[in-house]
Amino acid sequence: MTDKTLKPLTSPARREFLLDAGKTACGLSLAGLCLGLYSHQTQALPPGAIRPPGALPEADFLGACIRCGLCVRDCPYQILKLATPGEHVATGTPYFVARNLPCEMCEDIPCVKACPSGALDHSLTDINKAQMGLAVLIDHETCLNFLGLRCDVCYRVCPLIDKAITLEQQHNTRTDKHAVFIPTVHSDACTGCGKCEKGCVLETPAIKVLPRPLAKAEAGKHYRLGWEEKKKAGQSLIEEQGIVDLPDRMPDATPDAAPGGLPPAKQGNQL
């Protein structure tokens, strides 16, 4: 090494060194930036791609999965696939497309057991508790059951029939004398296996499994459902809180009516 302190800043060697270092730094940061942006882009899973059971939430999954494909190999039904460059799923990560091959919900969940990294959470031991996605009956206009027919296929093929998906009877307003049976998915039980999507008899399925964050709405944290609160408490929560009941306005109401309204005993007799 030559003694740098003796070299003026403008010496050719010094200049070249600084230039090289600068170029390197610029090139690297640019490459890093591109890769960073690209990685950010692939963080949103396309709706058609479903992760194997037990997968961590997508952001954590992408930091945990080492793209080894051991889950893919241990799936006895060969439904999983590792994403390749050019797909919209992060390269090398496992996913399946329900309409092609749905998850068969193996009782021993071999894919999860095979995962060496923890990207598939080993604490998932009951496949019925898996939440790979959530089925949503998207197209009400084309679904045969909505039209009043009795297709019922999505309901029949569900491994958790009558828990994850039920048929809700409603009045058929078109014929005015029949019933329609609305396939209704229940998010607390649906595993997102995709059997329903695979089974749907339409050319393009009316029911589809979506990533849960996409499919599931979330009410405001402060929302309370009165009837549920009442059930929980065993009684109405507002009765004995001294709620001010404003007077009912009657055509013949006298201006000097008491501010507390009519006494409870009289209420039912009005009108």
């Binding site: 090289d20 940061s29 690209y38 999965c65 080492i66 390749t84 992060a90 095979a114 060496p116 990294s117």
Partner: protein, 291 residues
């Protein structure tokens, strides 16, 4: 250095014992992985990132353990055990043995180097060899910032290996780009200057007792064949030319991938593999006053 006049240009003795052994090793390992998907015989499952051999032996690339940790994920025990086994293996044999004997990209870049020599292409983009360490550091920083294994989106090493076993998609384009850059852009650009995987394994190489040794360096007639074929020619100079300065004959620079190409091409049989910890000048076979 590689531009030095090479009497044979690395073409004459392109195939030698170690070259064959190395290709057998690289293709054999790949073959073991492919035996399952192609032949239905499952000896090894997974890929180089993490694998399971005979349903019992877990192996995990320590670089992936590092990436998981950088991304803020605590890996499972299996990954730790697998990474520890691999780590010990490469600490003993020398980190860049991975590059020379395991990595499938090596076949691609070796072919590129061969073609470049055949086409007599010289010069090109100048890349400092240290850049790979910066790429490694930058890659880990990016992993930490993004919280994802961002490097895996473009890593040609795992892309090629995984691609051959699980399906390639457009990954061929990245491999092709590197091949072309190695041929036309710059000598040994990928493996010798840019690849952070190689840089990482280089860091593991310090303690290994396995070395190529310029044992009979006194017999060297400066034909430069070894410099022409070596993917990291800078590692040869000190041991080969260092007799006068009292430098030992062991090629103990961590960048040496122990590919044995120098052993293959040397017409004077200067080089051989040697297991030794200390690098004493006196260990050279011809450490005699006649030099």
């Amino acid at each position: 250095m590689s531009q030095a006049p090479a009497t044979t240009g690395g073409g004459n003795r392109a195939i030698g014992k170690w070259w064959i052994m190395r290709r057998l090793s690289q293709l054999g390992i790949l073959g073991l992985f492919l035996l399952g998907p192609l032949g239905g015989v499952w000896v090894v499952t997974g890929n180089l990132n993490s694998s399971l051999t005979l349903k019992t032996l877990p192996l995990t690339d320590p670089l992936y353990l590092l990436q998981m940790l950088a991304a803020g994920h605590m890996p499972y025990q299996t990954a730790w055990i697998g990474a520890a086994i691999v780590l010990v293996f490469y600490l003993l044999l020398g980190g860049r043995v991975f590059c020379g004997w395991v990595c499938p990209m090596n076949i691609v870049t070796d072919s590129a180097a061969w073609l470049r020599a055949r086409l007599r292409i010289k010069g090109g983009v100048r890349i400092p060899r240290k850049l790979r360490l910066w790429v490694l550091g930058g890659m880990l920083v990016l992993t930490a910032i993004s919280g994802t294994l961002a490097w895996e989106l473009v890593n040609p090493v795992s892309m090629l290996h995984r691609g051959l076993i699980f399906g390639m998609g457009w990954g061929w384009l990245i491999i092709l780009a590197i091949f072309l850059f190695d041929v036309f852009g710059s000598q040994r650009a990928w493996c010798g200057h840019l690849c952070p995987v190689g840089a990482f394994y280089g860091l593991l190489g310090k303690a290994s007792p396995v070395h190529v040794s310029a044992e009979k360096r006194a017999a060297c007639n400066d034909c430069m064949d070894c410099f022409a074929v070596c993917p990291e020619p800078q590692v040869i100079t000190p041991p080969l030319r260092g007799a006068a300065k009292g430098v030992g004959p062991l090629i103990n620079d961590v960048d040496c991938s122990k590919c044995g190409r120098c052993i293959d091409v040397c017409g004077k049989d200067v080089f051989r593999f040697r297991i030794a910890l200390a690098n004493r000048a006196a260990d050279a076979a011809d450490a005699s006053p006649n030099n």
